[in-house]
Amino acid sequence: MRKYNLELAVGVFVIAGFICLGYLSINLGRLEVFGTGYYVIRAEFEKAGGIKPGASVEIAGVEVGRVKSIRLENYQAVVYLSIRNDVKIQEDAIASIRTKGIIGEKYIQITPGGSEVFIAHGGKLRETESAIDLEELLTKYIFGKI
């Protein structure tokens, strides 16, 4: 009986610990255990200022995916977006870098297009809109170019 109790107690403890670890990493850390529910598309931006891997991708304010990675190709910022499988994106959709609030974090907003053709895995989003550079805007305003 004593032997049985010891194993039971250790088992309960280890399971409780792993449940906590799983909660932390899957729920809070967004670890993708069943990582097949996404497809990747790419979008070329003139300027990807402020966007970081893990930033959210939204359509109409609803999160549909995340930024996977950002690379420099031909002196253009190429942002790879992983989008949920059940969300289809038209090939003439527009991706723009926006800010939440004035000093909030950057995210990518996708404005749906009207085309019948959807972008497949690895496809390219042609229409993009770079981040609004507040400093540049201020400079223009101050020197009267607007």
Partner: protein, 256 residues
């Protein structure tokens, strides 16, 4: 004058020798971890001793840490009107720093001292010598189960600590201070990355190794008599705590 210089030199040599001795002990025990036969039964007993018996303390300390964090951070954040960041602030400080460090310090006080005392008493009553004379490896019996158990147990205790702390913060932030529960958790999900959780994990695993290493070493090479064991126990707790805090800083600066 010459006497003082000799004195200083002798002390430095002594310190370096101790460090080397401890390191050899560590390498020896790591070697024995991977060499059969494996003592599963002893390992299970040590997991029970270090892990199960610490759970209640960990839950208590975790919940109150989370609650205090939420309370204090809330009043700071309110000055900037950004109470919405309470969730990420509580969760990040728990997962990255406080969870691993506080649970390691707690377990040091609760289990590390007991391990030192146990091994130390076996040393002064010559039970370790008896093991050797029966051609049984004392490292395998006394040190290895403790080390493996600590490396397994520490991350799990830290995870329990983090989760309990986050819910303690939830209790204060949402139920007492009136934040919406959606804000608390969704902001948290937004800001916590898998990297943060990995850092916490690395920290707790290395703390497990440090605590079990120091406790076993101090017990294994205790000086004789009841006084020797009491001194070894004190030293093991103090040294483990210091090393935990120093190592925490190093890992923190490495992974920033």
């Amino acid at each position: 004058m010459k006497k003082y210089i000799i004195n200083i030199g002798a002390r430095v040599i002594q310190i370096i020798r101790t460090i080397g001795h401890m390191f050899i002990f560590l390498m020896n025990s790591i070697y024995f971890i991977f060499s059969p036969p494996f003592k599963y039964r002893l390992l299970l007993k040590q997991i029970y001793f270090i892990g199960n018996k610490s759970v209640v303390v960990i839950i208590l300390i975790g919940s109150f840490t989370g609650m205090v964090l939420a309370l204090q951070i809330f009043y700071t954040l309110r000055k900037f009107g950004s109470e919405a960041m309470l969730g990420p602030a509580v969760a990040l400080s728990l997962i990255r720093e406080l969870g691993p460090v506080l649970s390691a310090l707690t377990v040091t006080g609760r289990a590390g001292s007991a391990i030192t005392a146990e091994i130390g008493i076996m040393r002064i009553t010559e039970q370790i010598d008896a093991l050797i004379s029966m051609a049984l490896n004392p490292m395998k019996y006394l040190v290895v189960p403790n080390m493996v158990a600590a490396i397994i147990v520490f991350p799990l205790l830290t995870a329990i600590f983090d989760v309990i702390g986050i819910f303690g913060g939830y209790l204060i932030g949402v139920k007492l201070l009136g934040l919406s529960s959606g804000t608390y958790f969704s902001q948290m999900k937004q800001y916590i990355d898998i990297v943060d959780i990995e850092i916490g994990l690395y920290k707790s695993i290395s703390f497990g190794l440090i605590v079990s290493w120091i406790s076993c070493y101090k017990g294994y090479y205790t000086s004789y008599g009841a006084e020797g064991v009491s001194k070894a126990t004190t030293e093991s707790v103090v040294l483990s705590s210091i090393l935990i805090l120093i190592w925490d800083y190093f890992i923190g600066s490495l992974y920033l």
